[in-house]
Symmetry: C2
Subunit: 672 residues, 2 copies
């Protein structure tokens, strides 16, 4: 519907209740039409959201990517119709037809808000707790950007609507604790404190005093009647002034307005039904047909959507006065490009690694890469979940970000792998930064839900995951990631790299930094590995996913395919086999996903037609894709053990001798 | 070393400091010898642990599985030498030779404590936060068992040593919140509040007021000097009296006694080195050679290890008076067997399903299974992470467990998937119960670290994970588990079931309940599925992992292998192919791991030699193991989408027509 909005619309004739009810009934009607969805939150939080959008949120609906907008995160993503209603009403990218196509194939209004799919959606939410943790990253990015570019260019708030579920999920504690520690005063969480979750009253499962909990992490906290617009407005206004992150617990009634369902779990996740929908219309005095928003109310909402134009135009004036580099940075939707200084730094490292051929753990190689390139990439933000000295993620030029000095480029995320991964998502979503963060590969399990969301959102975030196999040794099976490579490789749109030497480590970093629409995981060894690559210049071979490292003269009898720390063992095995006049090719396969994307001819040339042996200090997982259903595989059959790494490799049989034996078996079987 | 302990040993001649220093230096010396390990915690918490073990902990070192012992959980598992030293000193299953073999291949003293590997280790710890969350399950199990069997048989405490890392991990919040809600007064957490983590002072990353945080979840809290034995003793004594779970924040100095390292991160995770080891000996006045514990001190410790004999003998007297069923239940190390009533209930269900052949979602079939069997299995404890009505995990006979009535058999875990999974581990570890708990399969990512530990510990816990594919429909890609089946299948020792109809669902439950040394995940559909199995009696076919559902007459041209909701689609495809005189066998493969364990002859008979097509509404993952490197696969290539389920199946091409087309391709390729 096209509506021309003139300034003379009398906003005073439109009440807060009208505005809020427009949100409520768009949600109710869309859910009713699709016979699927969650009316409880949109009806319960319509008042809070209306106050936020109409009086506080700095946004220009026509320019949802304006860099200095306030961020609004619906952490309780099941309440998606609240957000879609607001996007439609304010004149954003959601049309009435989109609203009517709620939860239908191809619509802009999927069941949960999806970043990149619907303009105006700041982050994908649904898995509870992710939104609030991602918002912490956004609020942190805002302060970091502000410290670099000043109030003129960066000066916005991050608002979150979170439900009981978000606050019960453990990730919320990691987020709350980090935000409190860093004193992210521009983060305001509006808690839909309705006392109801899916099983019934929240008292079935929780007795937490949320205000006291947030306060214990240094937040400013208060409670407010979530159906009293003036009280809500006062709370937000005051919390905007505090130097601390703020929690406003909004006492609301879930499904507000549906007489027989409100205040109970029945309002949460199912359409109201014809009878309750009609009853809600009567209760709230909304005498309009489904999907009808009276023109004055719609015009009032559209004006709200244009409220930020003034701010945006003023910002554009300041933008014009900014430095060229800043102007480049603050182009809407701009993807941060890697500067030429980076390419030079990278080439220099490449030459050194290939020439000196050091024996280095790939985590150490990664440290040298970071030392070499970090200062050349503005916006590169490092960090670790309290394993800085093990992950070797801190470049010598990097300075920690603290509450007193946001102008840093290294974040001590604390022992919060999940919160770190979500915060990294938020930092990437905010824009202006390329975040990377470290932990042990085994703990990728902790951060997995946030890694998945990064893949779904197509974000450039880089996970540095060291201690990538039994090669970590004595810490034992709890810390030895035997199944994590396989488990990460199955996440769509995620690049999992396992470089085999210093040159491959550099190339993997290069791929990860260049991958603007995919997250990456760099799986790095604790133990030292020889550098076998000696090509000081030339193309990035890791970018092909897999390639030939050893090509025997006169054809091959067997192909050994290995990754990471096992490539050098495979090369040893090839030498052994050569003494028996068995010609073994060796393939390094640092990234299965990229290899899968190569042309079939390339793949066929690399894999060859000789029998194959897969080698990886991990479980079989998806290796049969490369070695066949019953292919020979030298790896792990179960969990690891605690012992020095060389002992483990020997005891678990990941040795040149065993690889050679597997090669002989493969050749014998093929020739049968 | 064999030591005869006589009552006349003068305990008064042995000071607290002697006892604690024996712990400290066994840890220091073992770490020094192995050149690997974490001295910081054993040195810092030796005083607290010594007070706990010498004055409070109810245990009999000679009987580490005595059912009514207090449980001691070292949540900060990297401090394993603290526990090993205590096990040796008290006369447990760890010898001095074991101590000297710390972190070596095959020793009883791996890098982190491993349940099932070292008697006296109550749970595997190392991944931070798991221990405290597992302990919540143990403390809950104690109260549940107490409510059934009374103080005479069940009356013990659960003590935890947790570090900063444990409390920063999000899972700790889920655990703390649940424990506070249920008022688990017999849970006492001793927080190693040393202000240091790996990166440096904890002030780098956290500003939490832990006492206020725990108090906000209803805990009794206090702070104590962790090097003052009398203050520690008073704190524990008083906290044992509170009706609430207790946090005692013990202010300690990490690496206490090593003059140049104590109080800094340098003491955490590396051997002290010769010089600091000698300096620590001087500082603490421990003038003995490495690994030497003077006889009087060792005798005093051995007496401590025998202190619980009196309690245990008294308990055995009461045990003799208990009912036969109770005596059966409280046999040390006894694995709960399924009673004959269960077999009868199961057979009755089987007959009904196979005869009536209902069209049911497998989650509904699971509900009917639970309704049929729950009351027949004493100790079966259900629950859900706030998705009871979606997971259909609540059997009609089940009663919720509450703080006022522990005599229930259903737990409202709240929106805490990770905490639920860890609590289930603790309930299983405690003994006397078979826990199962529900959530959506997509959220297995949240509980994954605890599922992994269950697999590593060989625990019988059962995860009911519904909404197992795009078949959940409108909730969209955040909730659609496209990669989770593959990601779970790679966890060693985990049984992942995806039953295809009501009979298979029953059989999968049967397998899971019978699997006493493995955790299971039941992946269940949201959408209705026809029951194709009509064998009202006979063997459990799911137990073979995969089996023939359709065997065409006169041999086969192609084999369609499917799981869960796709089996009935594959059967449809076989019918389509039959109209073209293509003979398609259909294999249902509800559990890859069990199929892998079958004899090769059986596997070959099921798979056949015809070309194969894999069908699963999920990513390719490990399917090439069954269909070959380039096998035909009908499934997902990426994330799902939001739309009604039938639309999604059509749009993503998981249809009988496409399966038939893939079959034709496979046949054509083979005949080339």
């Amino acid at each position: 519907m096209n509506i021309s909005v003139h300034a003379e619309v009398d906003l005073n004739a439109v009440s807060h209740a009208d505005l809020a009810n427009a949100v409520r009934f768009l949600a109710v009607d869309a859910i009713e039409l699709s016979q699927s969805g969650h009316p409880g939150l949109p009806m319960g939080m319509a008042d809070v959201a209306t106050v936020l959008f109409s009086r506080f949120l700095k946004f220009d609906a026509a320019h949802p990517n304006w860099p200095d907008r306030d961020r609004f995160v619906l952490s309780a993503g099941h309440g998606s119709m609240l957000l879609y209603a607001l996007l439609y009403l304010t004149g954003g990218a959601v049309s009435l037809d989109d609203i009517k196509a709620f939860r239908q194939w191809g619509s802009k209004t999927p069941g949960h808000p999806e970043y990149g799919h619907t303009p105006g959606v700041e982050t994908t939410t649904g898995p509870l707790g992710q939104g609030i943790a991602t918002a912490v990253g956004m609020a942190l990015a805002e302060r970091m950007a502000n410290s670099q570019h000043g109030d003129d260019l960066v000066d916005h708030f991050t608002y979150v609507i979170a439900g009981d579920g978000c606050l019960m999920e453990g990730i919320s504690q990691e987020a709350i604790s980090l935000a409190g520690h860093l004193q992210l005063g521009r983060l305001i969480v509006l808690f839909d404190d309705n006392g109801i979750s899916i099983d019934g009253p929240t008292s079935l499962a929780t007795s937490d005093d949320q205000l006291a909990r947030f306060a214990s992490s240094g937040w400013s906290v208060r409670r407010v009647d979530g159906h009293d617009p003036e009280a809500i407005a006062q709370a937000i206004a005051e919390e905007r002034q505090t130097a601390r992150p703020s929690l406003v617990a909004c006492r609301t009634i879930i499904g507000y307005g549906a007489p027989d369902r409100q205040g109970t779990e029945k309002a949460h996740g199912a359409p109201l039904g014809t009878e309750q929908t009609a009853a809600a219309r009567r209760t709230l005095g909304w005498d309009y047909q489904p999907f009808v928003v009276p023109i004055p109310i719609l015009k009032a909402w559209r004006l709200i959507g244009q409220r930020g134009q003034v701010d945006r135009l003023a910002w554009l004036d300041r933008y014009e006065c900014a430095s060229p580099a800043q102007r480049e940075l603050f182009i809407e939707g701009k993807v941060l490009a890697l500067p030429s200084a980076y390419a030079q730094a990278s080439a220099k490292l490449r030459e050194r690694f290939a020439t000196e051929r050091p024996k280095l753990a790939t985590r150490q190689a990664s440290q040298q890469v970071l030392d070499g390139i970090a200062s050349s990439i503005p916006g590169l933000i490092g960090g670790s979940a309290d394993l800085t000295h093990s992950n070797l993620t801190h470049a010598k030029t990097q300075v920690p970000v603290t509450r007193d000095r946001f102008a840093g480029d290294y974040i001590h995320y604390g022992i919060r792998e999940h919160g770190m991964a979500a915060a990294m998502n938020g930092i990437a979503l905010h824009g202006g930064f390329i975040p990377y963060g470290g932990t042990f590969l085994a703990f990728s399990d902790y951060s997995r839900p946030a890694i998945r969301l990064a893949a779904l959102m197509r974000l450039r975030v880089i996970h540095v995951m060291t201690h990538d196999s039994i090669g970590l040794g004595e810490d034992g099976p709890t810390h030895q990631p035997v199944e994590h490579l396989a488990a990460l490789r199955v996440i769509p749109n995620l690049l999992v790299f396992r470089p085999a030497d210093a040159v491959e480590t550099l190339e993997a970093w290069d791929c990860a930094l260049e991958a603007t629409t995919r997250p990456s995981v760099l799986c790095l060894s604790r133990q030292a590995l020889p550098t076998f690559r000696s090509d000081a210049r030339g193309t990035n071979r890791v970018a092909r996913g897999a390639y030939l490292v050893v090509t025997p003269d006169g054809g091959r009898d067997v192909t050994l395919i290995a990754t990471g720390s096992e490539v050098s063992i495979a090369i040893e095995a090839a030498r052994l086999l050569a003494t028996e006049h068995i010609r073994a090719a060796v393939v390094s396969a640092p990234c299965f996903a990229l290899f899968e994307e190569q042309r079939e001819e390339y793949r066929a040339a690399v894999l060859g037609i000789a029998p194959r042996v897969g080698i990886e200090a991990a479980v079989l997982g998806d290796w049969p894709r490369w070695i066949g259903a019953d292919g020979e595989f030298v790896g792990m059959r179960g969990f690891g053990a605690s012992a020095p790494a060389p002992v483990l490799y020997r005891e678990f049989g990941i040795t040149p001798q065993n690889i050679a034996e597997a090669a002989r078996r493969a050749i014998a079987r093929k020739s049968q």
